[in-house]
């Protein structure tokens, strides 16, 4: 579907969050790192909406509280102390983090504030042990240039990252969070909503990402950058999309969101013209367990065996609408299902638009329709779970179905890897912020600002010119390096090893991209190991042809070093004697051909020898020897 974005009135604003590579966390001395093993301790907590929040509280959080939802926190000794556990007040604001945000702010032409005040932003979904996220504004009102367009930047803030959600258990009554990530410093920069097309959103994000990387103080790899998009259409709604992790997904996410909103508007118009009204959708929830007492549907049977129930609900006039696609592989049924999962803690819903299916028979569907008195124009939604969860789930379905008849709901959604988005929670009201009284304000003196200004890192543009000039990179490679997360690493490698800059650049851009495509987890390999690979190539201990194999092995064997990879892969370089033996053997095996071709046998011989010696001998050494033997 080709959309004229100007005509539909698309407006996008970006909020970019990037983890900072500081020596310690924002409010304590723990290292900013995650752990993979089993937690060394867990503790159960409950967050409670505080008195003054009642009425203005995030409704989903209040709902969860009323349902008795508890949070189980996981920790280990290496990555969290009493501060993350909310058992000790925060230490003063990390100065290194403030300086980094100030650097980025000045690069975006923002005005630093004179005094930084840390605030508490109420968040009671469990992702912060305190029940609030600590955040502060460091600078305001700047701009960056993207192409010819000036993009106003609203603010640069410094905030603590949240705990990582690990999962839910006990029918959704316990949420597990890991507190290793809690407290890692994040810079947040926000643009004004002046972006008018999906591609432009991606370009602006790229430009901001470049500036942040230029500070040299940001983390790298999956999960270290999160892009939030505010997408709005005048006839639709302002929808906040959280957590787009990959840059090249941004345009797709915006495209799909526009499609979703436009399709929802169409669905509303069609339903309305059929005469369906919001008040026709009734909360008449019927117990349909009997309909399925002999069912072949595994999910439902399992639920009934567990003494759970099946509850059903009629959606008047919705027949055929639930299977309608809003975005690729994303239907109105999915919208209802997401709400049911969130509010009802259920695994999903069934609906008649997809029946018969999943072992549910035509007879069962017929009986189900009868049970809720549904006509041919109506759809039926049903859920199998505990009595409480099914009722909550179907109530949420009713609410979402009614919203379809009023338009697009303003809500917070989360981005999936395929570019579609899913319901996350209702949009929070005005952010409830109050001062973090445990942390004194941080003074930003004009001397400090001048000091940072004088030491600003090189801009991307200047860097591009310098890389081309200093290292002889062609324009394409230089651009790729500047855009990559590896530009500092690139220069370090070239400075310390005897490998050509182009070889290093090709590896850090094209080879890594290819490896990533092959499913290699490139973020698993530490910078130091990459540097070690090239030091070895430079000194002749490793063939440059083997570099991708070594890298792939390292990514699968975290914690190991290059030497281990060389041993494991049998990549020890052949000695001169070993090469001679190999060449002699190959020549003996191909005696007839050599006699026939004479010196023209060189290419063939090189191919055969290198087939065996690839990664273990330098092609130059081999070719010299072959030439010598042929003459």
């Amino acid at each position: 579907m080709a959309v004229d974005y100007a005509k539909v009135g698309l407006k996008v604003g970006l909020e970019i969050h990037q983890q900072l590579a500081t020596a310690s966390k924002l409010f304590c001395s723990c290292p900013p790192m995650l752990f993979k093993d089993e937690p060394q301790m867990v503790f159960l907590r409950r967050l409670r909406p505080t008195q003054s929040e009642l009425g203005q509280i995030d409704p989903s959080a209040y709902f969860e509280f009323q349902k008795g939802v508890k949070v189980l926190y996981e920790a280990n000794r290496e990555t969290a102390c009493l501060v993350e556990m909310d058992e000790e007040p925060p230490h003063p604001l990390n100065k290194e983090a403030v300086e980094t945000v100030l650097t980025a702010s000045l690069m975006m032409n923002m005005q630093p504030v004179d005094e930084v005040h840390v605030m508490r932003k109420t968040v009671i979904d469990g992702s912060n042990t305190t029940g609030f996220q600590r955040t502060c504004i460091v600078a305001l009102d700047g701009w960056i240039k993207v192409g010819e367009k000036v993009i106003p930047m609203q603010a640069a803030s410094l905030e603590e990252d949240a705990a990582r959600k690990i999962g839910t258990e006990a029918d959704g009554k316990i949420i597990r969070y890991r507190i290793d990530r809690l407290g890692i410093p994040l810079i947040e920069v926000a643009t004004a909503p002046v972006i008018y097309s999906p591609m432009e959103a991606q370009e602006v994000a790229l430009a901001i990402g470049r500036i942040l990387r230029d500070t040299g103080k940001v983390m790298r790899g999956l999960g270290t950058i999160r892009q939030d998009l505010n997408v709005s259409l005048p006839n639709g709604a302002l929808v906040e999309i959280k957590g787009v992790q990959a840059l090249d997904l941004i345009s797709t996410v915006v495209e799909y969101e526009v499609q979703r909103q436009l399709n929802l508007i169409t669905a509303k118009d069609e339903l309305t013209s059929k005469g369906v009204k919001a008040q026709d959708i009734k909360e008449d929830i019927v117990d349909a367990t009997d309909v399925f007492k002999d069912t072949k549907c595994k999910v439902i049977k399992k639920a009934i065996d567990k003494k759970n129930v099946v509850k059903a609900l009629k959606l008047t006039g919705f027949a055929g609408f639930l299977k309608r696609e809003l975005a690729p592989n994303f239907r109105i049924g999915t919208e209802l299902s997401d709400r049911a999962k969130f509010w009802g803690r259920v695994g999903g819903i069934f609906h008649t638009d997809e029946m018969p299916n999943y072992g549910v028979t035509t007879e069962e569907v017929k009986a189900l329709r009868k049970a809720v008195s549904a006509g041919a124009e109506d759809a039926v939604v049903f859920v199998a779970d505990t009595a409480e969860n099914t009722v909550d789930a179907l109530k949420a379905v009713v609410e979402r179905a009614r919203e379809i008849l009023t338009g697009v709901p303003a809500e917070t959604r989360t981005a999936k890897e395929d570019g579609t988005t899913r319901y996350m929670r209702p949009r929070p009201g005005a952010a409830r912020m109050y001062p973090e009284t445990d942390i004194p304000p941080t003074l930003i003196t004009s001397e400090f600002v001048e000091h940072v200004r004088e030491n600003l890192p090189e801009s991307a543009e200047k860097k591009l010119q310098r890389l081309a000039k200093e290292y002889g990179l062609n324009e394409k490679l230089a651009t790729q390096i500047v855009d990559s997360e590896y530009n500092t690493l690139f220069e370090n490698i070239v400075k310390e090893s005897d490998v050509s800059a182009t070889t290093v650049a090709v590896f850090l851009t094209e080879s890594l991209k290819a490896l990533k495509r092959d499913g290699i987890a490139v973020e698993n390999v530490a910078d130091e190991q990459i540097r070690e690979m090239f030091r070895r190539i430079g000194s002749g201990e490793l063939a440059k042809e083997a570099v991708s194999d070594v890298f792939a092995w390292l990514s699968k064997n975290e914690g190991k070093v290059v030497r281990d990879a060389v041993d494991a892969l049998g990549l020890k370089m052949l000695s001169k004697e070993e090469i001679t033996v190999l060449v002699d053997r190959v020549m003996a095996e191909n005696k007839q051909s050599i006699e026939k071709l004479g010196k023209n046998a060189f290419g063939m011989l090189m191919g055969l020898v290198m087939k065996e010696a690839r990664g273990k001998a330098k092609p130059n050494d081999v070719s010299e020897l072959v030439k010598q033997k042929l003459s």
Partner: protein, 451 residues
């Protein structure tokens, strides 16, 4: 309203500039200069802040500090709304439930923040507490009362007396249990004081606090309070106890005897640990109160409370340390102190250099008692010469009372008796479980914390 109240926390240059511009805290102001403009609500300045900045809450909710200088202009663009604290209506009382009383004295459990300005208010009322935790309505009929609104470091013997008297009144009026909300810093002292002052109790008296203020979603106030209400309304015991988190998790509230409990960590939720004892009861996972011992005073509505609320102010706690100057002991005696609680080392020692001073004050009729700064364990002054010498000087060993409880007991003892020998006798008598003849190995909390 005075100018200072109107411009909370501002001093010097900043105060002058604000006064000149006619701005008060809460007003909407615009600050222009140095190429920047800020507009928002004028926020109070914390006492520790310098006097060159004003703080403004921007529309986004963030606060920023703005430096004042000759070319910075402040103007008032709108009148602010003064913050108001409306307590939520009390939930309806269920008449079939037991009647209890929550008395508030102040502290973290009773502190909150004004969300608009950030000012911390330490006077959340007892009825606010009740409003914050509506579940309490399902547990008991709760009567609430604000006794004081003070930080616990400002509590004195006079406050203990007032608390004890008020508890006695509530019990006389038929309360099935009384709860005292208290700052945690000196909460254990108050619990010990009440243990001595309220004898022959018919119902439980629960002292409760919080390590995280009740304006935070993660506050321990609500769970501690729910545990306290359960114990007050239904607990089978009739003693003074402290109710607080047993671990860093929100799952368990433990009840420790008022004479055997101590604040042992500056910030953790499970800061209150039993010393030379074990919790007498516990509520786990929102269940009812479970007794952990058979050795406790039973709830008995027919018991007649004996109130002994007086405490002497002429008592000092003197900590011994290497190089301690013995003349400090004389200094106290010169100030008319009637009792000195020495916090000695190890099994119960102070340097022999102190003997002269001790002998001197004892001869003047000052009671000198000795508890150990080890905190855990029992003093035994028969093992070493020094201990034996101190005994012969008339120093009273405090057995397994740790210093704070021993201090409170000395204050209470001297509050009851003018006669020194009578007072000594009373001091050595087990009044409220402060002495225990047996110490079990698990009574020492030297282990890695955690849930």
């Amino acid at each position: 309203m005075s100018q200072n109240e109107a411009n909370l926390g501002y001093k010097g240059e900043a105060l002058e500039a604000l006064t000149k511009a006619g701005c008060e805290v809460g007003d909407i102001v615009r600050v222009t200069g140095d190429g920047k403009t800020y507009e928002g609500i004028l926020i109070p300045r914390s006492e520790s802040g310098n006097n060159k900045h004003v703080v403004v809450k921007l529309k986004s909710g963030y606060n920023v500090g703005i430096r004042l200088s000759a070319n910075v202009k402040i103007e008032k663009v709108g009148k602010g709304v003064k913050p108001s604290f409306a307590s939520p209506p009390l939930p309806p009382q269920r008449e079939e439930l037991p009647k209890i009383v929550i008395m508030s004295t102040g502290g973290t459990i009773a502190s909150r923040v004004d969300y608009r300005t950030g000012a911390v208010r330490s006077a959340i009322s007892a009825s606010d507490l009740y409003g914050v935790v509506p579940e309490l309505a399902d547990l008991a009929q709760v009567d609430t009362q604000i006794l004081f609104s003070i930080y616990s470091e400002n509590i004195t013997q006079k406050h203990w007396t007032k608390i004890a008297q008020t508890v006695a009144e509530h019990i006389a009026q038929g309360a099935k249990g009384v709860i005292i909300a208290h700052g945690t810093d000196t909460m254990a002292y108050t619990a010990a004081a009440l243990s001595f002052a309220l004898q022959n109790l018919p119902v439980p008296v629960i002292v409760v606090g919080a390590q995280r203020s009740s304006d935070r979603p993660s506050s321990d106030a609500a769970t501690n309070l729910i545990g306290a209400v359960k114990a007050a309304a239904y607990g089978p015991f009739a003693e003074v106890v402290v109710a607080m988190h047993e671990t860093v998790a929100d799952t368990t509230i433990s009840f420790n005897r008022g004479t055997k409990v101590r604040k042992c960590h500056t910030s953790r939720r499970d800061t209150f640990k039993p010393v030379n004892g074990l919790p007498i009861a516990r509520t786990a996972d929102n269940n009812e109160v479970t007794m952990l011992t058979t050795d406790y005073r039973k709830r008995d509505p027919s018991a007649q409370l004996v109130l002994k609320p007086n405490f002497s102010e002429k008592v000092a706690l003197v900590k011994f340390y290497p190089g301690f100057d013995p003349s400090l002991i004389d200094w106290y005696a010169e100030r008319d102190v009637k009792g000195i609680l020495l916090e000695g080392s190890g099994l119960g020692h102070v340097s022999a250099r102190c003997f002269g001073a001790i002998q001197n004050v004892v001869s003047q009729g000052v009671i000198v008692a000795l508890a150990s700064q080890c905190i855990w364990g029992r003093v035994n002054m028969n093992v070493y010469d020094t201990g034996r010498d101190l005994l012969s000087l008339g120093v009273i060993p405090c057995d397994d009372m740790f210093p704070e409880t021993a201090l409170v007991k000395l204050m209470w003892t001297l509050g009851q008796n003018r006669d020194v020998e009578e007072a000594k006798k009373l001091f050595k008598t087990n009044v409220a479980g402060e002495f225990s003849p047996r110490t079990l190995p698990q009574e020492t909390q030297i282990k890695e914390g955690g849930a």
